[in-house]
């Protein structure tokens, strides 16, 4: 399988000022194949979120190199990065992060607005995606605000939003962290289904139960990979 994403000796040092530096990533190298389902695990503070942000082009590396779909991230300016995130990466966050004054369907449409998709097409695709993530009676729920939806429903809307521009990879940071057990099962089912239909998925978690469906588990400790196992 072709490498979708490649990290070469990536380091990330947070400069806290007054000569205090936090080394969040101390030289991480690995590559992610297209269509894979990877879990990144590790204790709190091990650098998981930092790694995800860097893979998602939200932050720049201190040193090292990232290549996504053949493009070196460090060669891109802010504008290009925004466009790249828009088309190539779908984010799912722990706290859902839906925009509060937009309805569910408008949240799903948001990345498509940024991509310049025409209104009618946008609506149609957003509705399909809401159905895909199994929002019950989407015709009605679609027009609810996030605060009228349960946590599980919100996270499913967020997944639909992440899928909006058919990204190459879904990056999820503790997507089940704020959900009750019966709710996070559904979320993991969706990820599994998406992966089975070919979507590349990277999920960050500290919970082994959440990671169990991945085909590969990368374990971080203190900013370094201590284990990289393939399952099955």
């Amino acid at each position: 399988m072709a490498a979708l994403l490649e990290l070469k000796n990536v380091k990330k040092i947070y400069d806290m000022g007054r000569d205090i530096h936090v080394e969040a990533l101390r030289g991480v190298s690995f590559s992610i194949e297209e269509g894979s389902y990877t879990a990144i695990m590790g204790h709190s503070g091990s650098g998981k979120s930092t790694l995800l942000q860097i893979m998602g082009c939200l932050d720049r590396v201190t040193s090292g190199e990232i290549v996504i779909k053949g493009t070196a991230v460090k060669d891109m300016n802010d504008f290009q990065l925004a466009k790249f995130r828009n088309r190539t990466i779908g984010f799912v966050f722990q706290s859902f992060n839906l925009i509060g004054n937009l309805t569910a369907i408008e949240n799903v449409e948001l990345p498509m607005i940024y991509a310049g998709v025409p209104r009618a097409e946008r609506r149609k695709r957003a509705m399909e995606l809401l159905k895909l993530v199994g929002l019950e009676e989407p015709e009605e729920r679609a027009y609810h605000r996030p605060n009228q939806l349960s946590g599980g429903q919100q996270q499913r809307v967020a997944i639909a939003r992440a899928l909006a521009n058919d990204p190459a990879v879904i990056l999820a940071d503790e997507p089940t962290g704020n959900l009750a057990t019966n709710q996070w099962r559904r979320i993991l089912d969706i990820f599994k289904r998406l992966n089975e239909s070919g979507k590349t998925i990277i999920i960050v978690t500290h919970d082994p139960l959440v990671g169990q469906e991945a085909t590969r588990i990368i374990t971080l400790e203190d900013g370094e990979i201590i284990k990289d196992e393939r399952i099955k």
């Binding site: 939200l58 925004a82 995130r85 088309r87 984010f91 004054n101 940024y114």
Partner: protein, 405 residues
């Protein structure tokens, strides 16, 4: 389009805050429009009053360095001569009539009342040139001139001062001059006219020119003022030029005389009211700027509050420019709506001012330029004061913004 809708939504979320942030601009716009409207109304009022004088009256006075202090100087130094009157009559083709005036202040006594009155010596045609209407009795005529008659037509205001409710016609007053008292019989009373350029008949005692020259105001061929009329309103400016040239030929100094026409007064008045209006409007505009600062404040708070949202949008692929535009649209939305409300309300306030101040003769005329100006300024304020908060929003780091709680 989506940006507009989104701006509308996020502003609708906290209606009270949005309303309060609009208030400054609303008040500012109202203040600017109403200030300019009052200015325009006043100009219109004054213009109407001046225009009622008849646009072809021209008054020539000795030059004075401003103010009413010049009046005294006028009577003492007689720069203007009777020959000027003849020259103007003969050499100014656009002048219809021209007549000299003798003028001086005297103590005038009627029974127990003794007051200072402007006594004017004038030929009968003065009444027609200035269009002075009679209230009772008769005007002066050529017979009075021929006889050096001690008769007078009295102005409305001074008549009340001297005679109270009594009918002045037929009464005799005494004009005291250097120990003498010249008896003058009132033969007519004028209607109140208000000031005719520099000439205010309401406060005058008008006697025949020859009587004045012989008995009260001896200027040895000098005259106090010259009153002329142009053949038509269209040729008034030409007439003024001609008179100026004639006087300049003799006096060789433009400071020694002044040729005043209604047009000049009108332009002076409108200049003065323009300056006043500008001043008022500037003060009002300050409140718009204050409103703008308020909006900037609100927008800065809003940017901070929505840091997380900004981070999420950036993660979804919003460019920095897009974030900036979103916030700019919001601040401009506030000011555009506020500007529109202000324009609407200013009509209401103007009507209210007109109603409340109707007794003061205050006219309020809302002008198009003031609407366009104040609305334009409020849009510009939205842009200007929204720029910095929007810039801050767009410069946020996506990671930092996402971590914000």
């Amino acid at each position: 389009m989506e940006i507009l809708l989104e701006a509308f939504r996020s502003l609708g979320k906290d209606k009270l805050r949005t309303f309060l942030s609009m208030l400054g601009i609303v008040i500012g716009v109202i203040a600017v429009i109403v200030a300019i409207a009052i200015g325009a109304g006043t100009t219109a009022n004054v213009t109407a009053r001046i225009s009622s004088l008849g646009s072809n009256v021209i008054i020539i006075t000795p030059g004075f360095t401003g103010g009413f202090g010049g009046r005294a100087a006028m009577a003492l130094t007689s720069v203007l001569q009777e020959t000027d009157v003849q020259n103007i009559q003969q050499m100014a083709p656009d002048v219809a009539d021209v007549t000299p005036i003798l003028q001086k202040n005297f103590n005038v006594i009627y029974q127990a009342t003794n007051t200072v009155v402007t006594v004017v010596g004038a030929y009968p045609d003065t009444f027609s040139i200035l269009d002075l209407p009679l209230q009772s009795g008769r005007l002066l005529n050529q017979n009075d001139e021929n006889a050096d008659a001690n008769v007078a037509v009295i102005g409305n205001v001074i008549a009340t001062t001297l005679f109270g409710n009594e009918d002045p016609v037929g009464q005799t007053v005494y004009v005291s001059t250097g120990g003498f008292q010249v008896p003058i019989t009132i033969v007519g009373e004028l209607k109140q006219t208000g000031s005719k350029l520099t000439f205010n008949p309401d406060n005058m005692l008008i006697i025949p020119y020859t009587t004045a020259a012989a008995k009260l105001i001896q200027l040895n061929g000098g005259v106090s003022q010259i009153i002329a009329s142009a053949k038509s309103a269209q040729t008034a400016l030409n007439a003024v030029d001609e008179i100026n040239n004639i006087l300049y030929m003799r006096l060789q100094n433009t400071n020694q005389y002044r040729v005043i026409s209604q047009n000049q007064i009108l332009s002076t008045v409108s200049q003065t009211t323009d300056v006043l209006t500008l001043l008022l409007a500037s003060i009002a505009a300050i409140s718009m700027v204050v409103g703008g600062i308020g909006i900037m404040n609100i927008m800065l708070v809003s940017v901070t509050e929505r840091t997380k949202e900004i981070g999420v949008k950036m993660a979804m692929g919003a460019t920095r420019r897009r974030i900036m535009v979103e916030f700019l649209v919001e601040s401009m939305f506030i000011t555009i709506v506020a500007g529109a409300i202000g324009v609407g309300l200013s009509f209401l306030i103007a009507a209210l001012v007109t109603y409340l101040a109707s007794g003061l003769g205050l006219t309020v005329i809302i002008t198009w330029p003031s609407i366009v100006l104040s609305f334009g300024v409020s849009v510009a304020i939205g842009l200007f004061f929204g720029l910095y908060p929007a810039y801050l929003a767009s410069k946020k780091s996506p990671v930092e913004a996402l971590r914000y709680e």
